[in-house]
Symmetry: D3
Subunit: 128 residues, 6 copies
């Protein structure tokens, strides 16, 4: 079968690689972006196929994870959004998008898969 | 009993009055704001008591409902947020805050009460 | 404000009247149907404005509540559906529609309001 | 219509009266108990008709709200449980029963109604 | 440990095989059916052990996925139901069963696992 | 990445081993306890790092699974709790903790992973 497309935005190369492997193993096709600007470009290129976004909140210079997710939702309103963070989640309640999920580092890879697939399944049953 | 405090931000006076009456009848104490700037000030004054925010998305000149809700969550992370709108909700998925509710005009007043009280009750059971 | 339209289908006149009063008091505009055939006609006439359906499972001769709800969803995919019943709900899991609510008689009128408004609010936040 | 039975346990007479009025106004039949021991007896007498329990966590001498709810669930496994408290809810996560709701004083009476009716409706749709 | 039994109904042999492998890998025992009539027979034979049904909506000649799921729920009221489809989901809101999940092709295999296991876990916590 | 810590309490050695393997494969760090008393001690030692508890309801002599989970929540209010049982779940509704999950033996290992990760993700999004 074809595979649904997910974009991963993360500025730490080892975590980016690990998340990519986990998502490929779960049956997704994965695009990666190493900073916020690359993530913005990838969204512009792939938005019509994009099903999910997994993004670190901190992405170095340029747009952060809150910006990237907002832009993804502007172009793809139903895209599933999972934020990864090492910080407190006080910011998420103010800067996150609706129907998104925040997971804290360190997390088990199964937490990431359940977060992403639950949001995707929820979106499918309510497109009505 | 004392009553939990809710701020209503709405630039149409008749709707503001109607929403205030509905919320008072449901057992809330209500503050009102007729535009975005007044809403911002009311949040600054009352944020330590604020339990809920009911805001129109369009608020005339100045900050809109998306701005007001984001500011409320910055000062009061657990505040319940209900947006009222007459437009499409494509904007909500990009500009709304997490764990908020959008209701379309025209709505039954019981929809507003259920939206606000469900969010309040959900917040209480997860403060852990 | 204008009011959202709900159709009530119930073959017991006293219960029909009581449900109508409860819904009007909650801020809805209400159409009524005293049997399944009238409900089918009302759906055909009003489907473009219809926001909710409250139906008894048993409706005397002709279409029953399961049929009526299925027809409403064919014409209005996002319509909120609440079934009322005096029987076991083993039938609901096989004959009900997705994202519907079953409430047993006797129920408190606030149960009906919460069932209907929760489904309406849930639909609004996921139209994306 | 007949009305579903709810037991209210609360040792402050004014709050007991207020909660009783709110529940009767929402369409429930209400039994009251002014302390934990009376609540235990009322559960023993009424458990076959009991649909909901609204209990203060502190009930003076004798059994507290945690004990009362546990006993209600032993005799009536599907009973809806709402706890009222003026304290922190750190205790609820350890001593509350599953699928229950905690609401903090001061609360709007509509919060209580939504808490109770949501739990009742949820129970009905999953008895399958 | 013993394994819970899931029936997969799918008329495309390669997809049937892939779904079977995914479910076996997740810890399920799997029965397969290549058309609607075989699925009906398998349900009749296994309904007392059946925990889940994963079915394509289109099954060639004979009963379709909507019919198969309705029949499964008649014999096994708590069975978890996941529909797979390549079409729009307008039909699901009218013809699906309550508490079911629709997933669109192409889906990641982890979406299928999360859909099925979430429904199974939800059923377990509400048998009360 | 570091891995989140989960405690497994189970008095049947083969099931304990199987559950441990499943959780390690899903990305968790696992501590094990073969009876209720050991589980109590492990909670006392690890409560500041503990993210999840997976416990059999029956644990031989000493504290049972209901006791162990209550103690874990006293020390770690946000800990995710999954109970495993071979019995009816009538006891869970009276003796389980809020926001916990009960799964029946036999279960697919993916059910356990989804139960645990859903609870963990839910906790993260509501710490606000």
């Amino acid at each position: 079968m074809e595979r649904p497309l997910v974009l991963v935005a993360e500025d730490q190369p080892l975590i980016l690689l690990e998340v990519e492997e986990v998502l490929v193993g779960a049956g997704f096709e994965v695009e990666t972006a190493a900073d916020g600007q690359s993530a913005m470009s990838a969204i512009a290129r792939h938005h019509s196929q994009l099903r999910g976004l997994v993004t670190d909140v901190r992405l170095g210079q340029g747009p952060n994870g809150w910006d990237v997710a907002r832009h993804a939702r502007e172009l793809t309103p139903m895209v599933a959004v999972v934020y990864m963070t090492g910080d407190s989640d006080y910011e998420w309640v103010a800067y996150g998008v609706p129907n998104s999920q925040l997971i804290h580092k360190p997390f088990a890879h199964a937490q990431l898969i359940t977060a992403l697939t639950s949001l995707l399944n929820q979106a499918e049953n309510t497109e009505g």
